[in-house]
């Protein structure tokens, strides 16, 4: 109990005094997770929509694989990307290991399946509703994909936010490919891990509270936007 109370006051102090080290960590966390969310959306939304509408051999196994990949352990993804980006690995010459770029790559790999699988479900449900009408209107496969993506945009926003939530809260992938380097690749989750292992639990929990507050605020904003959109557009 004491730790909790202390943590709340630590968290409050961090937010109000804008400790420069904490601000840098928060900014990097947001930068990395937002960037990987955008990248995953760019890849995952069209991919999910294409699988939803397309009919091709192996579609069933692909859907199963995407759904299963939603539950990929972050630490496994981190290890795989680490082996890929290490100097001893195939992409080593790019020198990306232990940089924020590596963290973006790892998080993108982690959440693309999530975005694609959920998008597939949403677009497929919409496709069932619209399929005959769109075919009657001679809509091509590409045109239908774009139409459905736009039509389900508010549900897809929820999907993208789910992706962001997962990216912002994972530690396994970024700690392995980033190395938790002070000032360079230390984000909120890895800082929490470090402070915990240093035994500074109030600080760790304080950072945790800041992280939860950030993610919750973002989701709240999105919820309000969805409600507004539903009222306006039906």
């Amino acid at each position: 109990m004491n730790t909790l109370a202390e943590s709340f006051s630590v968290a409050l102090a961090m937010i109000t005094h804008l400790d420069p080290r904490v601000t840098a960590i928060v900014a990097l966390s947001l930068g990395v997770s937002l960037t990987s969310t955008v990248c995953s959306a760019v890849i995952g939304l069209p991919l999910g929509a294409a699988v939803a509408i397309g009919r091709f051999p192996g579609r069933g196994p692909l859907i199963v694989a995407l759904n299963a990949a939603m539950g990929l352990p972050p630490v496994v993804v981190g290890l795989l990307v680490y082996l890929l980006l290490s100097r001893a690995g195939p992409l080593g010459s790019m020198g990306l290991l232990f940089t924020p770029q590596a963290m973006v790559i790892a998080q993108t790999v982690l959440i693309v399946p999530l975005v694609a699988a959920l998008t597939r479900q949403i677009v497929e449900d919409a496709w069932i509703e619209y399929r005959e009408q769109l075919r009657s209107l001679d809509s091509s496969w590409l045109q239908s994909t774009l139409t459905l993506l736009w039509d389900t945009r508010w549900s897809l926003l929820t999907v993208v936010l789910a992706g962001f939530g997962r990216a912002a809260s994972e530690v396994g992938a970024v700690i392995i490919v980033g190395g938790n380097i002070d000032g360079i690749t230390r984000v909120m989750t890895t800082a929490i891990a470090l402070e915990t292992s240093k035994g500074d639990l109030p600080l760790a929990l304080g950072l945790g509270i800041v992280l939860i507050t950030l993610v919750t605020t973002l989701n709240l904003g999105a919820h309000v936007t969805r409600q507004w959109a539903r009222a306006r557009l039906g």
Binding site: G31, T35, R87, S93, P100, G179, G199
Partner: protein
Amino acid sequence: MTKLFRRLTGAFACLLLAAAALAQQPFIVVASTTSTEQSGLFPQLLPAFEKDTGINVRVVAVGTGQALDIGRRGDADVVFVHDKTAELKWLAEGEGVRRYPVMYNDFVLVGPASDPARVKGSKDITTALKAIADAKAPFVSRADKSGTHAAELRLWKDAGVDIDTAKGPWYRETGSGMGAALNTASELNAYILADRGTWLNFKNRGELGIAVEGDKRLFNQYGVMLVNPDKHPNVKKELGQKFIDWLVSPRGQAVIAAYKIGGEQLFFPNAGTDS
């Protein structure tokens, strides 16, 4: 919708610019250990080095075994660990250039206030460990191929305890860094071997305190090595060597000696000796 898009591209652009800015300043990657990081030495040491040379040092802190592996893969320029046997083996494999002793500190045996094995105040680590094994008192081991873990195993051997056969439910192997293992020991009220630096900096002590210290066998030597640039052409050999030279220079050694927690010096510079 476009406003959100603009904000996102703005954040993305900032990230790219920041990355570009980071790339401008010369830097090296040093693979070091969790105990060195968690002792709090680096925030003292590295800014001084950067002030003197303008080189930014990026420390990846993992267990000694992993640090040496990072060096083996060429993902770091310099390796700074504390397991002489493993370091020499690593050199023998051709992974590094030369080993420079830098500093030493010592390990301490930390234990619960209740002291079930009755070892508190002893100056003999091997008899203490034997007593713990005989009493089957709770003991936490890092079990992660770190320098600390290697030292612990050596001490069990010196104590005449075959830990592989003696281990039981009393011997908890966590496979984690020093701080995390200390957290576990604090929770379980167990004995644990820790480096003095991490212990002094550790805040979640619970009922733990130092049980055994001062034995010469608890001596913990740190060494620094440049990763072999012949094997890994990407290694920044000049910058890396500058770091090594600075560490063993009078200036670097003075900065190391100046680091104190609660008035107590943590690390004792001994560059140039045969350690």
